[in-house]
């Protein structure tokens, strides 16, 4: 492979994704113009505090939103646009091309349905030509890969522990070999040992099956251990994105810096947090959304909205401390 080899087509190409919810007070813009690429087999971590929009973004990608919500922008999955596509195509894409693993495994399986039946249902929803017996076998196989013995495949969900249920959910997510998996806080509800197992599993999937992984979490340590790249979200936008090593070693956005400072480790002697609360997304403030909480804010920060700009190779941040982030300065080299 020469240096000039063409870049492989990204598995997922997101441009200016918008997710808005209808509330009695008006429309709440949970995701406001998020753009990124995900290559096949790559793992991208999405981090941010609660309410930053990362879960909404995950759901927005799948278009699994409650009634009254709207999604906009462009989501290209393997080159095919998903936003605005008809319901039938969207349904087929879900599970087969793009899959989601949710946060609380305890409630994600139908309590009245055996686990094997869940597989049969999922498989035959996309490949109706597969017989029930074959589908059951496929389910058993994939469960075995996840470490669940085939004899238990016919059990009911409540007969499994939380960790096992999450593994079943992952199995259900990958049985049809999707290109991208979105994992929304997959291990938050599980204990640390199980968490390690699950992450191992997801990692194997990436390397063995070349599945792209979008890991949504608030746990920076997880991202540091398992992800190739990381995107930091705040108030519905990506404020910093780049390779994990770079971003964590050399954070350019004050918010990222604050997040990293607040991580607790053995060496922590004093608890650090970022003062203030995230902005109201129904009526966001003008200028940089982090400015009210930013210790490094200055005059322009409350009037000018920064855009993502390169700070290093593949590493971008949206902060006016980088002159490149001023919107009108596009095209000008520093």
């Amino acid at each position: 492979m020469t240096a000039n080899a063409p870049m492989p087509e990204p598995a997922l190409r997101v441009r200016d994704l918008q997710v808005a919810y209808g509330t009695p007070r008006g429309s709440l813009q949970a995701v406001d113009g998020v753009s990124f690429d995900l290559a096949p087999g790559e793992s991208l971590g999405i981090v941010g505090e609660s309410g930053c929009g990362k879960s909404s973004m995950g759901r927005g990608l799948m278009q699994l939103l409650p009634p009254g919500a709207a999604v906009g922008g462009s989501v290209l999955l393997n080159g095919e646009e998903l936003i605005g596509v008809d319901a039938g195509r969207l349904r087929r894409a879900r599970g087969e091309d793009i899959a989601m693993v949710f946060q609380e495994p305890m409630t994600r399986l139908d309590p009245l349905m055996r686990v094997s039946k869940h597989f049969v249902e999922a498989i035959r929803a996309h490949r109706p030509e597969v017989s029930k017996a074959d589908a059951r076998q496929m389910g058993r196989d994939i469960l075995a890969q996840m470490g669940i013995p085939p004899t238990r495949a016919d059990n009911y969900p409540h007969e499994f522990s939380g960790g096992m249920r999450q593994r079943i959910m992952i199995a259900l997510g990958i049985v049809l070999q999707p290109t991208v998996i979105i994992a929304d806080e997959p291990t938050t509800a599980l204990d640390v040992i199980v968490e390690a197992q699950i992450l191992d599993l997801l990692d194997r999937l990436r390397t063995d099956e070349n599945v792209g992984l979008l890991l949504i979490t608030h746990n920076l340590g997880l991202v540091a251990e398992t992800c190739d790249r990381v995107a930091v979200m705040y108030a519905g936008r990506i404020v910093e994105i780049g390779p994990v090593v770079d971003v964590f070693a050399n954070p350019r956005h004050p918010y990222t810096q604050g997040l990293l400072r607040s991580v607790i480790s053995i060496e922590t002697t004093k608890l650090v947090s970022i003062d203030g609360t995230p902005p109201d997304l129904v009526d966001p403030p003008a200028g940089c959304r982090f400015a009210p909480r930013c210790a490094q804010a200055f005059g322009d920060c409350t009037t000018v909205d920064p855009v993502l700009a390169d700070v290093d190779v593949g590493h971008r941040a949206a902060c006016l401390l980088q002159t490149g982030s001023y919107p009108q300065r596009m095209g000008v080299t520093a």
Binding site: P8, G22, S27, G33, S35, A39, P327
Partner: protein, 367 residues
């Protein structure tokens, strides 16, 4: 380019104690917060229900204003609608001249709802019946609350053997079909007392005691574990204080919803009792009783003596139920996000605005 200026750090906010007025305003706001947050359908239900119920409440409060005749009036002084048999001074009909009300007359301008076979004016019976219905329902649910709520509070808070016995006892009472229980109690009471308002009240009230007991007890059980109760215990508050000052107000918020739904049910139970003849006795006005009196009329083809009392029952119960359902929707909403119609607005920050010129942020492929 000059170094950007940094604004001075903001001064720390000074804490100010809220004034008494603000506290009260805050309390009121807090009480009405669920109403303001509620979806319009729930509010509509409550409003319609309140309107319907109020109509009957007005009838109950001012029967003589609306009703032209007394509930058991079958004749009147010529030229007026006054009841010669009512009041302290009985009028001598031979001297004055009394007219009798028509018998089984169809609805007309003189008698908008017609008359019964006993020469009673149906509309007046409806109005007076409203008074009886309200009185019995309020008294009986009051009785049920008066027994059920304290028992539930105590039982839930104390626990132990007393609690277990009470729970089983209340369950046993609850299991008995409501109407059946009311019939039995009314039947038993009639051995001691003359049938009337009191016995009907007790008969209906007994049926609803278990419900109040259960709900209050369950709520108490959960509130009991709250940290603020533990804190109160830690500072040495007596159980009585804890229950009356802390637990009660918390728990009592579940009462209004049950109350309205129970009231609706109580009207139906009372009507059922009346229909079977175990409620207030004839000739007192009671809607269920009136329907049973109208059975023979129906066979003969006269519809108004049965239709209007039953309609009154249906309307009052509907009104009360609407209030209950609406309150339930407001207090226990099934969370929803609704109301956003239309496209997501195009934002000013389009792709072209990203720095570096190229439209695509090529956070390129894997390293």
């Amino acid at each position: 380019m000059a170094a950007p200026e940094r604004p001075p750090a903001p001064a720390a906010p000074v804490a100010v104690a809220p004034s008494r007025r603000e506290l009260i305003r805050g309390r009121i706001d807090h009480t009405f917060k669920p109403w303001r947050k509620a979806n319009p359908m729930a509010r509509r239900l409550v409003i319609v229900g309140v309107l319907m119920t109020s109509v009957f409440a007005v009838l109950a409060l001012l029967p003589s204003v609306v009703a032209p005749y007394a509930e058991d009036q079958y004749r009147y002084i010529a030229g007026t609608t006054d009841n010669p048999d009512g009041g302290e001074a009985r009028v001598d009909c031979v001297a004055v001249g009394c007219e009798q009300l028509p018998r089984r007359e169809a609805p007309s301008s003189a008698h908008p709802f017609g008359t019964t076979s006993a020469r009673f004016d149906v509309m007046s019976r409806i109005v007076h019946g409203s008074r009886v219905a309200f009185a019995i329902v309020i008294l009986s649910t009051g009785l049920a609350m008066g027994i059920g709520v304290p028992l539930g509070l105590w039982s839930g808070y104390r626990g132990g053997k007393v609690d277990r016995i009470l729970v089983t006892l209340m369950d046993a009472v609850y299991v008995i079909p409501g109407l059946l229980l009311a019939i039995i109690v009314a039947f038993v009471l009639q051995q001691y007392f003359d049938p009337g308002l009191a016995s009907a009240t007790v008969a209906v009230g007994v049926v609803y005691v278990p419900q109040y007991y259960r709900v209050i007890r369950n709520h108490t059980l959960s509130v009991k574990e709250e940290p603020f109760v533990e804190a109160a215990r830690a500072i040495g508050a007596s159980p009585r204080t804890i229950v009356t000052r802390y637990v009660f107000f918390n728990v009592v918020q579940s009462v209004p919803v049950i109350f309205t739904l129970n009231a609706a049910d109580a009207v139906l139970t009372l009507a059922g009792l009346g229909f079977l003849g175990y409620g207030v006795p004839f000739p007192q006005a009671e809607w269920g009783l009136d329907v049973s009196q109208a059975l023979s009329d129906v066979v003969a083809g006269f519809w108004w003596t049965a239709f209007f009392p039953g309609m009154a029952i249906m309307l009052l119960v509907t009104g009360l139920t609407l209030i209950g359902e609406g309150l339930n929707d407001i207090v226990n909403p099934l969370l929803r996000l609704k109301g956003f119609k239309g496209k997501v607005p195009a934002r000013a920050r389009t792709n072209a605005q990203t720095a570096g010129g190229a439209a695509e942020p090529s956070d390129g492929a894997g390293q």
